[in-house]
């Protein structure tokens, strides 16, 4: 009964006019950046973070969440129509979606992907509702040592997502943790690495870092590559799939949803991983594997459902434990902190309206996306013809204004420039930005828990393996590291990322 009451509370919050409006804005913005290659949800959310100052907490989180799952919708549209994945999560959709479009089934592919995504989003929301309470109750038993180990697990798992070498990604995590230490030491008040810059005493703000690493660096790389558009004229055709297509799509969408939802919950999992795994699964179990890559319906339905299910369930670790599982979630944590909410198990008990309102709004947002997007496909496709030379300066400008408005100080704009250069160096050296950002966000908390755990154990590091929860988490971490080091897994992982690139 409790569950039902909570959901009703959430729905009543989510359907208020203001929140509906922000969900709509978020979904539209998300679709927009999903359609446009060259800008992703991380940079967009970082740009918009300062604006959320002016909004009530629930509205701002609803909007940011809308951007996140809207982006995966938009990304699939362009994958299917013009073979341009707007987001990494929809790269696999290109393989069969674009072939379907070339066979004249673009409309069917779009509606299958939209309905599949909506179904997956609904399941994902239900899973969040079911898991949120037990996980939160479990999290309340966590001591400092357990939290420290949990964060270690989260950070290591984030490495699975990085496409380069594992050891470089781990080094990036540590570099991020180190950058996270800049500022005033909470326990002693000592200034660390602030170089007498007053703006640094509060630590490095991660929003300008995200803008630099993901916004600026990406613009520069695109300018180098002379990113050009191949819009062309596309016939969408009938949106109705044939009976045969429906028959094949339904089981694929179900499997995709299940796999995506499971992978999304894991720290380090997320839409991209879900989409890739479910495509591979479909190809393995299909009776006609030779059809894949030539317009197989399953190849659209499964990854599209999976990426949306994963996008939803990746909120679970963030909402219940306060541990972000990917770069977008790290920014969501930041958005909550900006609003004075410490993410973690307390959110659900202390701010039930925010917690359940956000969850309910995700479902509403998914519904909106189907309703808005299918009729508006023509407009999104037109946007693709905007050349990058117009977009690049605009994105830069929004990054700059966004950074300035964080604290009305040009210091953050300089910071964007600095991290833009650093981000460019990272791209050139093949180092991933996401593990760095996660380390930066988790760094201060992790140090805090680490020091508290050591204080409680009187300096005995054995505390991390004496507490069962912590031990379990550390063993999981070690197993993950070992699995990644196995030659066969390593090879498969490389192959998966090669297909992606």
């Amino acid at each position: 009964m409790d569950l039902l009451n909570n959901l009703l509370l959430g729905l009543s919050v989510a359907v208020s006019l203001q929140n509906l409006m922000y969900a709509l804005i978020g979904c539209l913005l998300g679709t927009l950046i999903g359609v446009l290659p060259g800008i992703g949800p991380v940079a967009t959310i970082a740009m918009l973070l300062p604006i959320t100052f002016h909004l009530p907490p629930t509205a701002s989180l609803i909007m940011l969440a809308g951007i996140y799952y809207g982006a995966s919708y938009g990304g699939s549209t362009t994958s299917i129509l013009v073979n341009l994945p707007g987001e990494s999560a929809s790269v696999v959709t290109c393989l069969d979606g674009y072939q379907m479009a070339r066979n004249g089934r673009a409309g069917a592919a779009l509606s299958i992907s939209a309905v599949g995504s909506f179904f997956a989003g609904t399941v994902g929301t239900i899973i969040i509702v079911l898991f949120a309470e037990p996980l939160t109750r479990m999290a309340q038993k966590f001591g400092p040592a357990d939290y420290c180990s949990l964060m270690a697990l989260g950070l290591v798992a984030a490495v699975v997502l990085a496409s380069g070498s594992v050891i470089k990604a781990i080094a990036m995590v540590f570099l991020g943790l180190l950058f996270g230490l800049v500022g005033t030491d909470v326990n002693t008040g000592a200034q660390r690495f602030t170089f007498d810059v007053p703006e640094l005493s509060d630590g490095i703000d991660f929003a300008p870092v995200a803008m630099g690493l993901f916004g600026i660096a990406e613009i520069v790389v695109n300018l180098e590559r002379r990113l050009s558009r191949t819009g062309g004229t596309i016939k969408v055709g009938s949106l109705w799939p044939t009976r045969e297509e429906v028959r094949r799509a339904i089981p694929a969408a179900l499997r995709g949803t299940a796999l995506g939802a499971a992978l999304g919950v894991l720290p380090g999992g997320g839409p991209t991983l879900g989409a890739f795994s479910s495509y591979t699964l479909e190809k393995k179990i299909s009776k006609h594997p030779e059809q894949f890559g030539k317009g197989a319906v399953e190849g659209v339905a499964a990854p599209e459902s999976a990426n949306n299910a994963a996008a939803q369930t990746s909120f679970i670790p963030m909402l219940t434990l306060g541990i972000p599982s990917n770069a977008v979630m790290a920014l969501m944590v930041g958005a909550m902190i900006i609003q004075g909410i410490q993410p973690g198990p307390e959110v659900m008990t202390k701010k039930p309206d925010l917690f359940w309102g956000m969850i309910a709004s995700m479902w509403i947002g998914n519904l909106m996306l189907v309703v808005i997007n299918l009729p508006m496909i023509g407009m999104w496709v037109k946007l693709l013809t905007v050349p990058y030379r117009f977009l690049a300066p605009a994105i830069l400008l929004f990054c700059c204004i966004g950074a300035y408005s964080l604290q009305n100080s040009t210091f953050h704009v300089f910071q964007v420039a600095l991290f833009g250069v650093l981000g460019y160096v990272f791209v050139r050296l093949g180092c991933e930005g996401a593990p760095f950002l996660l380390g930066l966000v988790l760094g201060p908390q992790m140090e805090e828990y680490f020091r508290r755990a050591m204080l409680l154990s009187r300096g005995d590091p054995m505390v991390f393996i004496q507490r069962p929860i912590s031990l379990g988490l550390l063993i999981t971490t070690a197993v993950l590291l070992l699995i990644m080091a196995l030659p066969s897994i390593k090879k498969a992982r490389q192959q998966a990322f090669q297909e992606e690139g």
């Binding site: 170089f195 830069l396 833009g420």
Partner: protein, 149 residues
């Protein structure tokens, strides 16, 4: 020479360099004991781990080899960075409009095609959009042209 100019070797060096910088500037921070850690304990621990990882990456890169770095094109990154810095310098002193004009101009120079009419059109569109969204819509406390509006 080329084996030292590989992606992995250089990133290893980068990690070592960051570790050294952190060690150098963190040397005055008190270490404390494992029970009561001072502000310097965790930074030192992290720098040492980072440097060892960096060293390991370097060794692996030299033994196993890795991709060579591509020759960077300096034009886009330099112009984009200059554009952002110019924006930061102009924004409070001169206002949004001058900063916007300079940023869009410099950033457009970083691209491949540069048509002055297009760039001006882009500037006008962005100026109107930004004024409407940030000044009028969100009511942010920024001036469009310093001293005028």
């Amino acid at each position: 020479m080329s084996r030292f100019l590989s992606k992995d070797f250089l990133s290893g060096l980068l990690f070592i360099a960051f570790g050294l910088v952190a060690l150098y500037f963190g040397q005055k921070l008190a270490l404390g004991t494992t029970v009561r850690m001072g502000p310097g304990y965790v930074p030192r621990m992290l720098s040492i781990i980072l440097m060892s990882l960096g060293g390991l990456i370097c060794v692996v890169a030299l033994v196993a080899g890795s991709e060579p770095v591509e020759r960077p094109k300096l034009r886009p990154i330099t112009l984009v960075t200059i554009g952002v810095i110019a924006f930061a310098l102009l924004f409070e002193r001169a206002g949004l409009l001058p900063a916007l004009v300079v940023l869009v101009l410099i950033a457009s120079l970083g691209g491949e095609e540069f048509k002055i009419t297009e760039v001006i059109g882009n500037m006008v569109a962005l100026a109107i959009l930004c004024t409407l969204v940030f000044k009028v819509g969100l009511g942010m406390n920024i001036s469009i042209v310093r001293g005028v509006w």
